[in-house]
Structure formats: C-alpha cells, structure tokens
C-alpha cells in the first residue's frame, strides 16, 4: 500500500522521509514540484499524481505536503484519510502540526510512523493506543526545548531530563488496548476529578446572492468531547430534538444500532479529546441566517476608480450577541488601493495579496457597522468584469443555531459521580455573499 512518505514544506524542502519497503529516492518528489509549479496555489496541486513508476498521493495541511508514494492500486481516499490521520496525530502530540514541531520531535515522529503503518498498511491509528506505546513530549521537555534553543544542547538536555524523571518516549507498558475489544480506549485510566465535557459546535455554510436572498444554506455540526473518566465508563447521551439531525457520522465507539433504534448516543468513550459525531441539518427553511449584509461594490468605467459600501447588522440571533465578525474580500487584481472609513472595527487592505479585511468585532443592536470609501484601480486597465465575494466570519456563544439541545448524559459501569458539561457555539463556516 503506502510505500514511502515524504514531508515537504511549501518551499519545496523535503524535511522528513520514511520508507516502509525498499527505499525510494526522494527525487520522486520532483513530480510534485512540477505540479506545484503549474498550480496557482498549493491547494491546487492535484492530490493524485501519476508518475512513470509510482503514484503520488498527497494532502496539503498546515503548510506541509504529506506525500505518500504508492506503487499499486489502492483506494486514493484510503491514503488521503490516513495522511490526515497522521497530521492529526502530530497535532495531538505536539500541539501543532508544523515543520518546526516535526523537526523538533523527529524521533517521536519516526516512532509514531513506525507504529501507524506496517508494510504500508495501517496498524495502530487510534490516539489512545499510540499514547500507550509512545508518550507525547512532556511539558518539562518542551520547556527545556524553548529555553535552550540550540539543537545539540537541547537534545542532550531533554535526554538528561528524561533520564532524571525515568521516562522516555517509549512507554514501558505494553499496548494492551490493541488487543481489546475496544481498541480506542486505553486501559487503567484513573483521574481524581472525573469530568466529561461536550462542545456542540455548529457552522453555517451559506451562499447569499447580491440581493441578500439565500441561494444555499445548511448547518454542519460536530460534537467534540473531552472525556476524562476513570475506568470503563459506558455513556449515554440523548437529545431533546434528535429529529433535527439529517445526516450523521460517528466515532467508531458509538453503537450504531442504538442510534437507529432509540436515537441516543451510547458509547464507551476514548480517553481524552475526540470527535464524537458530526451531523448535518439540511432543511433550508430551518437555517436561520444570523446577520444581514447590504453591500455595493462597483467599478467605474472611467477614472480608474471604484466604490465600496458594506453594512452588516444582526438578524435572527435568538437574543445572543454576535462576536468576532470579520469580513474578508478578495479584490480583483487591478485594485491598487482602498481608501475606506468605518464606524466600527478596523479595515486593512493588502495591495500585494489584494485582500481586504474588515475586523468588526461585536455586533450591537444600536449601531450598525458600515464600511465605505473608494477603490483606486490601476490606471489604463479596463474595468474588471468580475465582482469580488464577501466571506463572513462570526461566532455566537451559547447557541446552537439549529436549536439542537442535549437532553442528558448518563453513565453506567462506574460508581463515581462525574462532572458533566455541555457548551454550544455557532460559527460561520463557508459563508459567502456574492456581489
């Protein structure tokens, strides 16, 4: 299946390679660079590239290309999904998935990759199992890392610290979780404070047309959990209104049969952070659009200039405040500069990337934020045909815009009383206003 893996920075630097079968020369990445040269942006590099002897399947994440080299038929999604899983594991282990953090933890990365694939076929990809076998870098170690800075010194330091505390990367215990019926949960979990938190996070994906009418809208939701419970708790989470959910996907721990029969989530959770479920609310009439946007962006036929006028205001917010409102506009190439004034927040125009960012902050009922002014265009250039799209970002605390509500959380199998909490948040997903 997966023959080799290369991690490549956007600048084209191959900073990690790992081979599960015979070694493949890193020159195979030249085909990726070639494709990258043709593409306008890293996102446009095709995920699957056929070369004379190999296939490259890559994902682009956190400014890194994860490039898997394949020699024979394999479902591309299989590889793509796995590569994302690798990136998520790094994220989980090092707090961020970046070239620097990978280079700093190269040994752990290597040990992880060794466990995640055997002969190119996934072996252990569950965070709980991996953490039993390979310990994440401790805070102490990372503190030492930041203080000492220098590479040599740092590793010696880290090593001595590790020695001192008697710990190493590799867990001394054997990963028994791999052998159990619930491979996603490690065994022997113990906490003094037992707690289970659930975040219901909803994102509104919408396209509004020029006049503000909804072309398309839907709600994507996820329930992210942070469960720190001792022993083998068996949880049941029920909703007040499960009928809202149009389409769902689950973490493998969720018992699908019970969901089908009773519409409750019954599961033995993994230890720590995980995504319990993702869902989708489709019915367009149910999707409340929390803001209205009035805009007018126009370019004049003569005089190499244009006008911009944007007004944003709250709508259907169920009494909650809309925060962190940011409007981003990708301007046509001929727009040289923008001379804008606003009554709330700040606006900046980057003439290089042609991106206008208007950071508004909170939306108040009393004052309606407005941004207006003139755009100066490249002189002599024809008036642009295209109209820029407004991308809107926002956040509403304590509200799931779909109205989904968790009813209760029950725990079986353990005696203690856990602390439970549910938090709701609504964000803008891919929220666009066409002009």
């Amino acid at each position: 299946m997966i023959h080799s893996l290369f991690l490549v920075s956007t600048a084209g630097h191959i900073f990690l390679e790992k081979h599960w079968k015979s070694v493949i020369s890193r020159s195979v990445c030249d085909y990726l660079f070639e494709a990258q040269g043709k593409a306008s942006a890293p996102e446009n590099v095709p995920p699957v590239i056929a070369t004379p002897h190999h296939y490259l399947i890559s994902v682009y994440r956190d400014r890194i290309f994860f490039v898997a080299v394949i020699q024979t038929e394999v479902p591309p999604l299989f590889v793509i999904e796995f590569l994302h899983r690798v990136a998520e594991t790094f994220q989980d282990y090092f707090g961020e998935c970046s070239e620097a953090s990978i280079k700093d933890n190269v040994v752990i990365v290597y040990e992880l990759l060794e466990e995640m694939l055997d002969n190119g076929f996934p072996l252990a990809t569950e965070a709980n199992i991996l953490k039993e076998m390979i310990k994440p870098p401790t805070i102490l170690r990372s503190v030492v890392n930041t203080i000492t800075g220098g590479r040599e010194l740092r590793s010696v330091f880290a090593w001595s610290v590790a020695q001192g505390s008697g710990s190493s990367n590799v867990g001394g215990t054997l990963p028994t979780g791999q052998l159990s019926n619930i491979p996603w949960r490690r065994t022997g979990v113990k906490y003094t404070n037992n707690e289970a938190y659930f975040d219901v996070v909803e994102e509104i994906d919408a396209i509004l047309d020029k006049s503000g009418t909804v072309v398309f809208a839907e709600i994507q939701g996820v329930i992210d959990a942070c469960v720190k419970l001792s022993g083998m708790p068996d949880l049941t989470l029920s909703f007040v209104n499960p009928r809202l959910l149009d389409d769902v996907s689950f973490h493998p721990c969720v018992r699908f049969k019970r969901w089908e029969a009773e519409r409750v989530l019954s599961f033995i959770p993994p230890d720590g952070n995980f995504r319990l479920m993702s869902y989708h609310v489709n019915a367009q009439n149910l999707v409340a659009i929390p803001v209205y946007v009035k805009q007018n962006v126009s370019f004049f036929e003569t005089g190499s200039s244009g006008r911009l006028d944007i007004t944003v205001g709250p709508k259907q917010t169920m009494g909650k405040t809309i925060e962190d409102v940011v409007i981003t506009v990708h301007m046509p190439k001929v727009v040289l500069n923008a001379n804008l004034t606003t009554n709330q927040g700040t606006s900046t125009y980057d003439p290089v990337t042609k991106v206008l960012v208007w950071d508004i902050g909170k939306l108040n009922q009393q004052k309606v934020p407005n941004l207006k002014g003139s755009l100066s265009l490249q002189s002599g250039a024809p008036r642009p045909d295209e109209n820029p799209t407004l991308n809107i970002d926002l956040r509403i605390q304590q509200l799931a815009i779909s109205g989904l509500k968790v009813n209760r959380l029950n725990m079986f199998g353990e005696k203690y009383k856990p602390f439970k909490g549910v938090k709701y948040v609504t964000k803008a997903g891919k929220f666009q206003v066409r002009t």
Binding site: R26, N44, P47, T72, E73, P75, V156, S249, D385
Partner: protein, 971 residues
C-alpha cells in the same frame, strides 16, 4: 573510522569520503559502545534523526546492530528502525541480528512475539526467506490474535521478497481467513488481495463470517474487505438490475437482455447478497471517508437500483471534508451522476461553487452540476453559471463556458438562451473567456447554422481582435463551413488572413487554407487570386503539415491536366455535411473501473488493479458458502491453537454458567424425587445437550482445524464437522433467545431462518431435560416465531429421513400460530449415540421446509452419580483402546477447579464425581441410547499443564469428547 578503511579497496576519493563520514560518526559509535543505556539512546536518537532527514547513516551498521538485544526498550525500538532501513544494503551484517528475533518469536509475551515477527519480516534479505516462512506459519497458529494479525501483515512482505513462496503463503492465508477474530480479518484480506486476489474460491466459506464481522473490524480493514467483497459478489450473485438497467446500455443489448429476462426466472436476491448489503449499510455513517466511499461503491456496483439512493447523502457529507477528500469524492460522484442522475438531484445545491474552492474542486463541481442538469432544473443551474462567469478564476470561467455548451447540447429547450449568453461573452474583456466562448459557440452553431448567420457575422468581426489561436481557428472554420450564410464577409476575412498568414500559429494557418479552399469552391470569382496567394505562402511554410496540406488542396481544387478524377468531387469532399459534435462528459463510461479505486480516478489501469467482473449469466452454486465439509481437507495443523474461540467463549460464558448451575440443581432435585430412573436421565440429558450445543458452536472452528488424521478417517466425523459448520452458520444470524420455561438463557440455534422460512422463524436448543415418554431420546426444544402478517396453520413434522436405528418423537401439531406469536414445543430424537443428523421436513398448511438437527457429542449423554471408588473400578475395566488421553495447556482464564468443572460440564452433560485430590477432577455419565459409561478425568499439573482422559467403550464418542473438552479447557 578504522574499520571502514580496512574494508575498502576502491578508489582513493571513496576512502576519503568514508573516512570523513566515519570520523564524523566516531562520537556516535563511542556512545553506542558504552555501557550506559542513556548514551546509547541518545546516539540512536541522533541516528534516527539522520535517517529521517535522508542522510546516509549506513556506515554505523555494525555499531548499531550490536545493540539489537539491548534491554532498554526504546533503544531496541530505534535499533529496529535502523535495521529495517539498512538491512537491504548490508545483508551479511543484518544476519547477525536474526537470532535475536528468532528468540523473540518464542517469548511468552504476545506483544514481543508480534514485534519480533514484524521486524524479522521487514528485513528484506533473501537468505532468510525460509526462516520468515517458518515464523509466519508458526505465528499463524499462535494463541494470540495479535500475533496472528502480525503474521497476516508479514505475508505480503515475504511475497514481495520472494514470489515463489506463493503456494505456501496461500495455505497460510487460507488458514487465517478462517480466523474468527475481527483483529485478523482486515489484515488477512489485505494479504489475500496482494498475494492471491484471483483465488476467489478461498472466500466462499468465509463470506458470511466476513459480512458479520465487518462492523467490528477496524476502519482500514473495513475498506479492504468491502472492496474485496464487491468483487466477490460480482462473481457469485445475479445482477439485481438485470431487467431494469438495460436502458442505460445500448439498444442491441436491450433486445438481448430482454430475451434473457424472458428466459430467466423472476429475480430473487440471494440471501447472501442481501446480507452483504444489509451489513455494509451502517458503515455509511463511518467517520472515515474511505469506508464511506467503499460502501458507496459497493452499493453502486451491487445494489438494486431502488436502493442505491442511500449513498448519496453520505457522499454529499464527505464534500465538507478536506479538499483532497472532496476531490476524490467528486470524481466518483461525477461518474455516478452519469448513470444514476436522479440519486443526486435532491443535493444539487450542495455542489454550488464557492469562490474560495480550489480550482480543481470548482471544475469537478461544475462537471457534476452539468451532469445533473435537466429540463426542470436547468434555469436554476444556468443562473448559477452566470455568477460563475464573473469569477476572478479564469480557468474556472473557461470551464463554466464549456459546461454551458454541454447543457445547451443536451437540453434543446435552452440552446438559444445559452447561445445568446455566450454571444454576450464575446464582448468580455478577458480574451480567454472570449476564446473559450468562440470554441463553444462554434460547436453549438454546427447544430443549427441556418438560424444564426448573424452570430457568424458577429464572430467574423472578432478576428480583428481575438488572438487566441484556438479561437481564431474556430472562427475561420465557421466562416468557411457556412460561407454561403455570410457571402459578403467571408472573402474579406480571407483577405485579412492572407495578409497576416505568415504571423499566424499553425492551427490558424491550417484553417486559413481550409477557408481559402472552401471559398474557392463556392465563390471562385472573388477569391481565386487570394487562394492562390495563400497556397503559395503555405508552400514555403516551415511546417511540413502546412506544406502538405497546401499541396493536397491545390491538387484537389485547382483543375489542371494532371489532376485526377478526385477534383471532380472536391466540393463534396470539402463541403460535406458534417455531423454536430457531441459534447460528452469526460466521466462517461468511467464506471467500468471499480469506483473509489485509483484506476478510476486516473482513468487508466493502475498496477495491481483487479477488474470488476461482469455479473454472471446464471448464479454459481450458492451452497458453496454454507457447505463447508471440505474444510478439513485443507491445511491440517494438529497444533492449531484454540485462540480463535477465545472471543466467542467469553461471550457465551455467562449463559453457560447459569445453565450449568441450574442444571446441577435440577439434577439433584430429580434424584431426590427419583420417580423413575428413565425420566431423570432424559431430563438431565436434554439439559446437557443445550449446554453442549453452546460449546460446540464455539469450538467448531477449532475442531475443524484440530482434527488429526486419526479422526479424519472416521466418516462420521466428517458428517459431524459439516453439521457443526451448518450450525455455526445458522447461529451467526441474529436469533431471538428462546424463552425456555425452566432453564436460564440457553444458546439457541437456527433451524429455519425467517427469510428462508418466508416469515416463519424456527430455533431450537438442547434443554438437557428428560424427554418424557422415551428415556433413550434427547429432548430438543423448538420455538416457532411467526413474523408474517397471516397466521401459520398446522405446523408439524413430516417425512423424517433418518439413519437406521434413529427415531423421532414428533411434537404435537400446532394448529394455529397467529401473526407475531411465539410457540414452543419439545420433540425427542434418538440419535443412536452418534452425531448423525436428523433430517426432516417442517410443514405449514402451505409450505414445506427441509431442516436438520444434529447434536454435539456432549449432548448425547446424561449424568450419573458415582463414588470415587466406583469410578476407579469402572475405569479399570475401560482401558486400552477404550482410553483416550491428551495433554494440554490450560487457557489463561482457566485457573482453579471450579472453572475446569464448569467448562467440562458445559461441554458435556456429565456429573461430577466427588474426589479427594485437588489436582484431579472426575466426571461421569452414560450415553443416552445404549447407556455406555463415559468417564472423564482431568488432571492438572504445574504451570497450567494438564491432561484429559476419557474412558468410554464407544471410541468414537470418546475421541470426539476429548477433543471438545480439550478445547474448552485450553481457552
């Protein structure tokens, strides 16, 4: 650096390089040679970091390999990493480490065994192939499923190292395919796919098991299994759409297929086909995109048309995932929308394009939108397209124009609207947009040129401005083709072109020649000189294609003495009516590749791609999946451990235990009452039967493989095996627990599945209770459930087919079983102390079903009470051939007397003989029919070793019983 200098006889520079390298690594070597693990670890970490960066660290091989047996687990792991990376380059030195791994393979800890095998099999050194082969074979019968999983992983490694091992590896694969644990299933199917994907016959007997295990297999295994089963199903089942989907294919096919349909019986889906569809469906809810895609392609390729729709929602969900996932999913959706448009129509808006999508995603969404366009939604789609045309992403705009063109050709009603829209684009400022529009307009005009001469005129004017070669060429072609519609403009265009000829691109030059020729033929008066001028220019062009073309055209159109008969037909040649081009999706017919595959994505066969076979004309024998009689003929490994059953046994342990204690109680009470011996006997006997059934079902797999040749010779054994398998298969269906009137939960078996029984489900269990009426009969409790809407009448037994000597006491006929009701009856069977099956028919007032009941050996006996002395005395008379002794290692969970007693009693319907020694347990019973004594002794020794002895004058029963007990205890 000493050693490297010694080893080098090459040129001087080479030596220098090595010296400098090894000098640099001297500190590392020192650290590796030190006594401190901490230094070693630090050195290894630095070496691994070098490997990760792609730096060469091969000169450290001898220093590193010495540490392969290091006690520190992290050092060891890093040494493994190093070893696997460089072993191929340093084969001789790598051999030094092999013994360490061989030792590791024998370690009592399963994780160490597994890791040793993993590393050993990853060392790509051909010399050790035999060692690897042996290790894999051994690991394949390891107690631990984890080790067996590792063995499965090792198979493709060995295969890639030495393909000659294929036959032997297939044997191992076959054995592991029979494994019952979810841990192994995915890995072994992976090995199967890499080594012997053509051996579809190996799947038959594991098919149902794989279907049933699927939901519990880890995500990656699920993908592999589903893809493999898709192929399997295509070879074994009939096309569920045989009489529906023909419309999608050609007309000739239609006739043929129609003829076939007439011949064929009405389509009934094979229950196994249904099983696959049913068991994969929940996986559409997986968080793993690859699993969802695998199920989606399975449904697309295998499900009846009416059911395929379920996958649309799940695929649309994946569209919100990472852009790479979207990319792959959209490619597949694009292919699906061509064949099954209706499925995605409700999700049209999910394919709307956002300005922030990467271009490749935009283009694919556009493809899907175009495929989804029909008369009803076209206006919405075109409105959407209009906004796309204003996008800043010009490649995307070009793709949109193409898409509009395709909508216009496919949907006649909107052709004019589209054309007008495109014509408006001709005044766009962006040349690319104009050019693309020209190309598309050209194609559209070919459909109805007479109506659109004004558009042609408009385009003729564009030649002054537009520079994109393809667009210029298209315009010239249009003018030439329809010059009679623009008789005044055409010669003028040619004049201008003649002027700029030398500066044009090749494709434009060719079209100028083309235009000149056509005008010469239709309007030679005005264009004769121009044409000759152009032809002369072309004659000296640098490009030989253009020179050739000029020569060719001159010969054809300018009549000379030499010109042959062809010139007469010049007009026909040049001005023939040309068919309008068909604008097709590039995804048309891509579905001959299995969806979701790399080959499908690339639209080219990738190495190792397994073709998706066509449906068979008539279904192959479906019984290959249930009759597993052939089993023992394959690999016969006597040492086969019983770990496969571990899981099952733990599952069924509870009910077993409960029935145990109860039956013991019952036994006592019945002894007290002691109404009549016979009654008591048959009561406990039936109880025992129930229990034993439970165990048997668990142990089938074991007994199958564990059969030594000795037993195998016995024909009856074979029947027994086949029966067990049949039972197991039946058990694997979810069956309602029988509400036994007196006993605790007993394992029940399917006699008639509700699908085969057309709504009537029948299960049975061995109640271990006496059968009233005949002490020589085993009582079987049968439960009927009517799942239909109508009542079932006169349920009864008909025409028992029995081996000589066997008898059946039929249960009283059930007159009426109302819908939804359950009814329980008891029947008696005299099995003649053999495990032969009792075959009979179950009848309702309308139907008959052939059914079979076969008892596990432990159910053929009933407990008797004995003292220790009596036991010893009886045992003394049953020596020699009548005594069978086997040694075993007790399973991990099998510690302490009570567990042993429990397990033996649940295996066979026996009673315990009180005994003084703690190391010995004795049990006694007698066979139901002939009353032959059955004496069992279990002696435990130190370190979990134990020995089982059975004394019984019926040798067959003895041997079978030993096997069953052995297995129950070694779990």
């Amino acid at each position: 650096g000493r050693w490297s200098i010694c080893g080098i006889t090459g040129n001087f520079t080479n030596i220098c390089v090595k010296i400098s390298l090894s000098c640099r690594h001297d500190d590392l070597k020192e650290m590796l040679d030190s006594n401190k693990d901490s230094l070693k670890l630090e050195a290894m970490k630095r070496i691994v970091a070098m490997i990760a960066r792609g730096k060469n660290a091969s000169d450290l091989f001898p220093a590193v390999v010495k540490n392969v047996a290091c006690k520190n687990i992290e050092v060891k792991k890093l040494v493994y990493v190093y070893l696997v990376r460089y072993a191929e380059e340093q084969q001789d030195l790598a051999l030094l480490s092999i013994s360490t791994f061989q030792r590791g393979l024998k370690d009592p800890n399963q994780l160490i065994r597994a890791s040793a095998l993993r590393v050993l099999s990853s060392i790509r050194v051909t010399i050790i192939v035999p060692i690897m082969m042996l290790a894999i074979k051994e690991a394949a019968s390891d107690m631990s499923p984890y080790v067996r999983k590792t063995a499965a992983h090792a198979i493709p490694k060995l295969y890639s190292l030495d393909p000659d091992q294929k036959d032997q590896l297939i044997e191992v694969i076959e054995k592991l395919l029979a494994d019952k644990t979810t841990l192994v299933a995915g890995s072994v199917v992976m090995a199967f796919e890499e080594v012997c994907p053509e051996r579809i016959d190996l799947i038959h007997k594991n098919y149902r098991k794989l279907c049933n295990l699927l939901i519990d297999v880890e995500e990656w295994g699920q993908v592999v299994i589903i893809n493999m089963l898709t192929r399997y199903a295509r070879t074994q089942f009939l096309n569920p759409n045989a009489n529906v989907s023909v419309s999608a294919e050609g007309k000739e096919d239609k006739v043929e297929a129609a003829a076939l349909v007439v011949k064929r019986k009405p389509y009934v889906m094979d229950p196994d086909h249904r099983l696959l569809l049913r068991n994969t469906k929940p996986l559409l809810q997986s968080r793993n995109a690859a699993v969802v895609m695998a199920v989606a392609q399975l449904y697309f390729h295998l499900a009846p048309k009416a059911e395929v729709g379920v996958i649309a929602k799940a695929l649309v969900r994946l569209m919100r995932s990472h852009s790479e996932v979207q990319y792959v999913v959209l490619q597949n959706v694009a292919t699906m929308t061509i064949k099954r448009r209706g499925m995605f129509e409700p999700y049209l808006k999910s394919f709307y394009i956002r300005s922030t999508d990467p271009t490749q995603i935009k283009v694919l969404k556009l493809e899907v939108l175009t495929n989804l366009a029909n008369e009803t939604n076209i206006s919405t789609i075109l409105r959407e397209f209009q906004t796309y045309i204003k996008s800043m992403d010009k490649d995307f705009v070009a793709a949109t124009i193409q898409a509009i063109g395709r909508c216009a050709t496919n949907i006649g009603e909107v052709r004019d609207t589209c054309l007008n829209g495109l014509v408006q684009l001709l005044s766009n400022r962006d040349e690319l947009v104009v050019a693309e529009s020209v190309v598309v307009i050209k194609k559209l005009l070919q459909m109805q040129p007479e109506k659109h001469s004004d558009i042609i005129k408009h385009m003729a004017k564009l030649t002054d401005n537009i520079q994109v070669p393809m667009a210029r060429a298209s315009i010239l072609w249009l003018i030439g083709e329809y010059c009679e519609h623009v008789p005044k403009i055409a010669p003028d265009v040619l004049r201008k072109m003649a002027k700029s000829f030398t500066n044009e691109e090749d494709i434009v030059k060719l079209q100028i020649l083309n235009l000149a020729a056509k005008l010469y033929l239709t309007n030679s008066k005005q264009t004769k000189l121009l044409t000759q001028y152009v032809l002369n220019l072309a004659k000296y062009d640098q490009n030989y294609d253009i020179r050739d073309r000029a020569r060719f055209i001159r010969q054809l159109i300018v009549p000379t003495d030499k010109s042959g008969a062809l010139s007469k037909y010049a007009k026909k040649l040049f001005l023939a009516l040309k068919p309008a081009p068909v604008l097709e999706s590039p995804f048309k017919d891509r579905d001959h590749f299995q969806l979701g595959s790399l080959s499908h994505l690339l639209n080219a066969k990738a190495g190792g791609y397994q073709e998706l076979p066509d449906w068979p004309e008539s279904a192959p024998d479906p019984s290959v999946r249930n009759v597993e009689v052939k089993y023992p003929t394959c690999s016969m490994n006597i040492e086969q451990s019983s770990t496969e059953e571990q899981k099952k046994s733990t599952k069924s342990k509870e009910p077993k235990d409960r029935s145990d204690s109860e039956s013991e109680d019952e036994e006592e009470s019945s002894t007290e009452s002691s109404e009549s011996e016979s009654e008591e006997e048959s009561e406990s006997d039936t109880d025992a039967k129930k229990k034993k059934k439970v165990l048997l079902s668990i142990s089938i797999n074991h007994t199958l493989q564990g059969t030594s040749l000795r037993y195998y010779i016995l024909k009856k054994w074979r029947i027994y095996v086949s029966f067990c398998v049949a039972l197991l298969l039946k058990c694997s269906f979810p069956s309602p627990q029988a509400a036994s009137p007196t006993c605790g939960p007993l394992k029940t078996y399917e006699l008639l599945h509700r699908i085969t029984g057309e709504g009537l489900a029948v299960t049975y269990c061995f109640s271990r209770r006496p059968f009233t009426g005949d002490p020589h009969m085993v009582s079987v409790q049968i439960q009927f459930t009517n799942n239909t809407e109508v009542e079932a009448r006169s349920l009864r037994v008909l025409e028992p087919k029995l081996q000589s000597g066997m008898r059946i006491a039929e249960f009283p006929e059930i007159d009426v079983l109302p819908p939804g009701e359950i009814s329980t009856v008891v029947m008696g069977i005299d099995f003649c102390d053999s495990t032969q099956a009792a075959n009979f028919q179950l009848c309702t007032h309308t139907k008959k079903f052939f059914v079979t009941i076969q008892p596990p050996v432990g159910e053929l006996m009933m407990p008797i009470f004995m003292t220790e002395n009596e036991f010893k005395k009886e045992q003394g008379q049953l020596m020699g051939m009548n005594e069978i002794t086997e040694k075993l290692t007790l399973g991990e969970g099998c510690r302490g007397d009570h567990v042993i007693i429990q397990r033996v009693i649940s295996t066979a319907n026996l009673s315990r003989v009180p005994c003084g020694s703690a190391m010995e347990c004795r049990f006694a019973g007698k066979t139901v029919t002939s009353g032959s004594l059955v004496l069992v002794t279990v002696v435990t020794k130190e370190e979990r070793a134990a020995q089982v002895t059975v004394n019984c004058e019926k040798m067959l029963i003895g041997t079978m019983l030993v096997k069953d007990i052995l297995q129950a205890l070694s779990q």
